[in-house]
Symmetry: C2
Subunit: 157 residues, 2 copies
């Protein structure tokens, strides 16, 4: 089963509810930037960054960013993949909220966190629309002391 | 030369200025949905959709959307590529604002417009952060009677 958020996002009220609910969670916290993971994390992360009045940083698949980057590989079910971030995207000490649409095993999120931390950024929390807790990703982040907030959870995947 | 908007978007004031300036252009027009083209169009389009209180529809590269889609191919400098949209993304008669970060030759935008129109949507305008007018894309859209608005233009590319 594939959990897909596109039908939610194309509904004006649904999309606003997603962004407002995430913003409510973080409105009283210091955030310098939101980093979103390609590609659905761009949709959620950019709208949330606008709502919270902070900058948006894209974390992309290998070879997609035009300026100097650093890379981090992560494991897929079969093989590995890479994420990249611009080296000038985050300044040392900046508080970064990591955003993606969904957390499953957490491999992608962990790679993104490693990139932010390599640039000296502080990942203050991770936010998702959907968590599949049985796949263990949110527990992996919690074990590292990172808050993994999600708007909804689906068991038994 | 590659015109890149990531340094603008990672700046809180720069990002807000981009979205607010685009929103100002369309605040008094009837828009049902914003369609954004993968991947940088997701960043601009989703934040603008949130600001304007409308739904967001992703137009993606081939094979990325999980439900039923229609496809449209378009020409690249060397070869062709494809864009896809979910068949349930747009209802007949809906007013759609197409958003991308940059318009050059306009091939990608034309493919996205064709997809929206195949679903019965009305492309009420196209919005970009950057136009490279010498490459002719905005004129191609204008020749079809479509408004192509951009926040900045760079000549001689």
């Amino acid at each position: 089963m594939f959990r897909d958020i596109t039908t939610l996002l194309q509904d004006a009220q649904g999309f606003a509810m997603v962004i407002n609910s995430l913003a409510e969670q973080y409105k009283n916290q210091k955030i310098d930037k939101i980093a979103g993971i390609e590609a659905r994390g761009f949709i959620i992360g950019a709208a949330l960054a606008y709502k919270l009045g902070v900058g948006f940083v894209p974390i992309r698949k290998a070879g997609k960013l035009p300026a100097d980057t650093i890379s981090q590989s992560y494991e897929l079910e079969y093989g590995t993949d890479q994420l990249e971030i611009h080296t000038d995207a985050i300044n040392a000490g900046e508080q970064v909220l990591l955003v993606d649409d969904l957390i499953a095993t957490g491999g992608t999120a962990e790679a993104a966190i490693a990139l932010i931390q390599q640039l000296g950024g502080v990942v203050m929390a991770c936010a998702f629309v959907i968590d599949l807790p049985d796949l263990g990703g949110s527990m992996r982040l919690a074990a590292k002391g990172l808050s993994a907030f999600s708007l909804c959870q689906f068991d038994g995947e």
